[in-house]
């Protein structure tokens, strides 16, 4: 019976039904679009990480794994896993023209399990694609190696006992990262040839790497933990694509966190729209519920009819949403692909569809609970009074907000994939809604005090605002929250983009030189001056050990022969590793002090008490170092002390040599040291000539060519920056659409009242003026409050989650205030025109 009643009602008020479906589907479409692009970006990030590792999971050691260990690994892996085994080691490659150190990668047919190796001949090498190195005694080399020894494709080279023909060069290697750039060029050979090479035997230094591709549903983190449990030797490394280590690891983490926020913001935006619409829907149906109650229906049954109706409408709203998602999103992805160099395929996951359905169908009940319980306060007698039916104020039931709060907190954590971000965001939203409630309450109440106005519709507008305080407050909070959500992502984007952007292309290095001795420095500088090459930076490097921090031993001794856990050993090895100290008169452009004071100048032993130290922030966190801590170093037999005066952050895209510990200038200047130098981008021929000259004159100085990997990092940085831009723009559009549906909904509720004004003799100009005044006051004030709060929330999220310097932009929130106000006014104006056109009688009949 309930279903029949609900259906009959729905068909009778089909116009309202269509209106509801249209508006709700707008909000849901925004949510689905954001989720789809979010998933596409996350897939892209995960895909890149897997390509860098060339697998889902890797188990590696600087020795062969024993049969026992391998058995343990394979029994832990899920069935259906695919394996590839590779070796990595340094060796001397020689030919008649000379010899050179190379990094050998010995692979099998399954390599790479993910990603592509592009060869200069045009071949794209993936798992199980034909590899000529596996079928003949041949080798693929990095192109720079040809120039270094004077070889060409087709030449023969020797590697241990092997004679190999160079058949191709590597054009692009997805496993190569900036961090993995080494002193030697890579070459690829067939793993099966290793026994004949004579290079791998007792005493050889190599990495044996077992790569695995696991079924898609596998939880790689859990698998990693299980493998750690199986493998007792801490010297065996187990990596997943997430932990393999990348140049941009921290920034990728930030991007993932940002995408998590995007997911929550989109959820809140659509929830905001849905909640508001449901509230309007139930508000409009209260009269019917009261009628049904007078006809003998139980309260619960009456509510059931309308919950069922709302659920059906919600379900119907998901149809156009999903239609849009499946038809339009791929086209949007292609459009973006044609405008930029990035291919992005928006994906609508089952989870997105489920959340969408949940919000549309069941969300109505949960978010409308505070409103639904008012049914118990319904006075049927009111049905017979002449005034427009309204729900009585009744008693306050604050607990009714609890299910919504719990639901959105849970969804926030789930969407962000992080307790930290989910909780921070949910907390911020509670703060924001309370703040907006307070500001809105004051605004609505003070609107009622504006009585000395000349124009009647001005007086009427403000009085009307304060008279319908509840409804005014609801739209105020909705608009304010919308303004806040719209502004958060673009503001965080500004701050995060600053992390990714390169200050200037002219500061991007192409060569790094290290092991420059004191006495070689002048000669190298002269060589550079002769070729008009201006170094980007020169950093002295002094080796030291940290002995004590605040009098406590810093290094970890091995007690009772073994370390208890992997972590304990890792920490000990890290601490006992020694540190490269450096000094400079001032911080470089890529460094920012996040806490403390800059260096006071050159150290003067006559005046200064103790040398000053600057510590890189993440190192300080890892080692638990604070400003004011006194550190004692052993600088090659000499002990010195220093006091931490600042913590500094180093920009990832600076590509400059950076150090965990900087010592005040004037302290280490005479200590034994060597230098690292970065050289700017230069023509390939100039770069190659300079490398040859260096090899002849200063053979100990290693020159690393980073031009190729820097380009890759810059491309990644650009991609990240662009991703932020895209998501912020999508969030803006979604936000405005949601606000559009809220304002439209609100105005439709006022048709009866506006119609009364028309009947009383108000001109259409006065009707329009009345509604425009009301909305300009509410929308401008709510948008301003929301935008202001968004600055606070963005600043806090940036501080707690992203830890980057906040880039405040004034125009962005102000522009959003203007757009929201104008948008509200436009919708209000258009709606008032509609009302003027409509027959007064039909509205009276429909709405009384």
């Amino acid at each position: 019976m309930l279903l029949r009643l609900a259906l009959r009602e729905l068909i009778r008020s089909w116009r309202f039904g269509l209106f509801f479906i249209f508006n709700l589907s707008l909000g849901l479409t925004g949510f689905v679009a954001l989720q789809a692009f979010n998933a596409a970006l996350e897939n892209e990030i995960a895909g890149n990480a897997k390509a860098i590792l060339a697998g889902d999971v890797s188990v590696s050691a600087r020795r062969e794994l024993t049969e026992e260990e391998l058995k343990g690994v394979r029994s832990t892996l899920p069935s259906g896993s695919i394996e590839s085994k590779t070796y990595e080691f340094y060796a001397m490659l020689s030919s008649d023209k000379g010899s050179r150190l190379v990094l050998v990668k010995a692979v099998d047919d399954n390599y790479p399990l993910y990603g592509t190796l592009s060869l200069s001949s045009g071949a794209e090498i993936q798992s199980q694609t034909g590899k000529d190195i596996l079928t003949s005694a041949s080798v693929w080399v990095y192109p720079e190696l040809l120039g270094q020894i004077g070889l060409s494709v087709g030449d023969e080279v020797r590697l241990g006992q092997l004679k190999l023909k160079i058949t191709d060069t590597i054009a692009k290697d997805e496993t190569q990262t900036f961090r993995a750039t080494t002193i030697a060029s890579r070459i690829y050979i067939n793993r099966a040839l290793l026994p004949d090479s004579g290079l791998i035997q007792y005493g050889s230094t190599f990495s044996a790497i077992h790569l695995f591709q696991v079924p898609e549903e596998t939880n790689e983190k859990e698998l990693q933990e299980k493998l750690f449990d199986k493998l007792a030797d801490p010297a065996i490394r187990v990596n997943t694509a997430d932990t393999a280590g990348e140049d941009s690891g921290r920034q990728l983490g930030y991007l993932t966190d940002y995408l998590g926020l995007v997911a929550i913001v989109s959820l809140f935006m659509s929830a905001l729209g849905a909640a508001y619409l449901y509230r309007l829907f139930l508000g409009s149906r209260m009269k019917e519920i009261a009628i049904l109650r007078t006809l003998g229906l139980q309260s619960g049954q009456a509510v059931g009819v309308y919950i069922l109706q709302a659920a059906m409408l919600g379900f119907l709203a998901t149809i156009p949403t999903l239609g849009f998602a499946y038809l339009v999103l791929p086209l949007l992805g292609e459009l973006i692909g044609s405008l930029t160099s990035f291919e992005l395929h928006p994906v609508i996951g089952a989870e997105t569809i489920l959340i969408c359905l949940f919000m549309a169908v069941l969300g109505s009940f949960i978010v409308s609970l505070p409103f639904l319980v008012k049914i118990f306060d319904l006075r049927a007698a009111k049905l017979f009074s002449e005034e427009k039916f309204a729900v009585a104020e009744g008693s306050k039931r604050y607990w009714t907000f609890l299910p919504s709060l719990i639901l959105f907190y849970g969804l926030s954590v789930h969407q962000a994939n992080s307790w930290k971000i989910g909780s921070a965001f949910a907390g911020a939203m509670v703060f924001v809604i309370i703040s907006l409630f307070l500001v809105g309450y004051l605004a609505v109440r003070s609107a009622g005090l504006l009585q000395g106005l000349r124009s009647w519709f001005l007086r009427f507008s403000f009085l009307s605002l304060s008279r319908r305080a509840g409804a005014s407050l609801a739209i105020f909070i909705a608009l304010g929250t919308g303004a806040l959500l719209i502004n958060i992502l673009p503001q965080l984007k500004n701050s995060l983009q600053a992390e990714f952007q390169v200050d200037s292309e002219s500061k991007v290095p192409s060569l790094f030189m290290f092991d420059i001795q004191d006495e070689q420095l002048q000669g190298i500088q002269e060589l550079l001056a002769d070729r008009n090459i201006l170094p980007l930076g020169l950093s002295p490097m002094v080796r030291a050990r940290i002995l004590k921090v605040n009098g406590e031993d810093y290094e970890r001794q091995l007690s009772s022969q073994v370390f208890k856990t992997r972590e304990e050993e890792r920490d000990a090895r890290f601490r006992n590793r020694g540190q490269n100290l450096s000094y400079r008169s001032e911080l470089s452009e890529s460094e920012t002090i996040v806490k403390g004071q800059p260096f006071s100048g050159k150290f003067d032993p006559e005046k200064d008490n103790i040398p000053e130290l600057s510590i890189e922030k993440s190192f300080a966190e890892r080692m638990d170092l604070e400003i004011g801590d006194v550190m004692q170093f052993d600088v090659q037999g000499v002990e010195i002390e220093g006091k931490i005066i600042n913590l500094r952050k180093v920009k990832w895209t600076s590509f400059q040599p950076n150090f965990f510990i900087l010592v005040q200038d004037g302290v280490l200047n005479d200590a034994p040291k060597n230098f690292i130098m970065a050289l700017p981008a230069m023509e390939e021929s100039v770069r190659s000539q300079f490398q040859d000259e260096m090899a002849r004159t200063f053979s100990n100085v290693s020159v690393i060519d980073v031009a190729r990997s820097v380009d890759d990092v810059l491309a990644t940085a650009e991609k990240m920056s662009w991703s932020l831009e895209l998501m912020a723009a999508l969030a803006l559009i979604t936000g405005y659409i949601v606000l559009f549906s809220i304002v439209r909904g609100q105005i439709s509720m006022r048709r009866w009242e506006l119609n009364m004004l028309k009947i009383l003799g108000a001109s259409w100009k006065e009707v329009a003026g009345f509604i425009l005044v009301e909305f300009s006051f509410l929308a401008a004030l709510a948008a301003f409050a929301g935008a202001l709060l968004s600055v606070l929330v963005s600043y806090s999220l940036n501080f707690f989650i992203f830890e980057s310097s906040f880039q405040f932009s004034l125009w962005q929130p102000l522009l959003s205030v203007l757009i929201i106000t104008l948008l509200s006014l436009l919708i209000a104006f258009l709606a008032s025109l509609d009302i003027v056109k409509e027959s007064a009688l039909s509205i009276l009949r429909e709405d009384k």
Partner: protein, 216 residues
Amino acid sequence: MRPFFLLQNKSAGWTRAISGFFFIIALTFSASSSWAQKKMIVLGDSLSEGYGVAKDAAFPAVLEKKLQAAEKKWTVVNAGVSGSTTASAVGRLKWLAKSKPDVILLALGANDGLRGLKLEDSEKNLGAAIEYAQKEKIRVILGGLYMPPNYGKDYTDQFAKMYQSLAKKYKVTFIPFILDKVAGNPKYNLADGIHPNEAGHRIIAENVFESLKGEL
């Protein structure tokens, strides 16, 4: 290992003099004040520095304890610098010679080999360091090394011969392979397979001690 010079003494409240000038004076003072002790400086790389192990577990510190246990009054100073090549030998030696050591254990060259540098240049650098030490009347002990087999037979043979010919040319005390019994054995190395762990350092100290106990 007792530091041969302590620049800081909070309890005494001395002026914290760390400029180069004070530093050199202090080094000299330190050398003369400890006349009863003889001093050996280990001029090496990460193998000497004790990369990954505590300072007291690195072989120079273990060697000092062994020498003292054998009632030999020797101080062993660890001047190992991770990543250093033979190119740094003379420059560092000039600095370290200011503290008037009696013996230098020259244990450099591993990074030259691992980085595939020209061995003629490495030999020249080590030769220059030995010549400088001999001119300063510092006795030289040459610590020899082998390259791992993956570098190929030609290169590893040439590398091993470099030390032999230097030892012969300059007539210095020679330890053919200070990593004997350690290199290549996972039991005595860190996870990187190159750097000795605590047990490995104890064996190296034993290797050096056995080679030198009659000499010192």
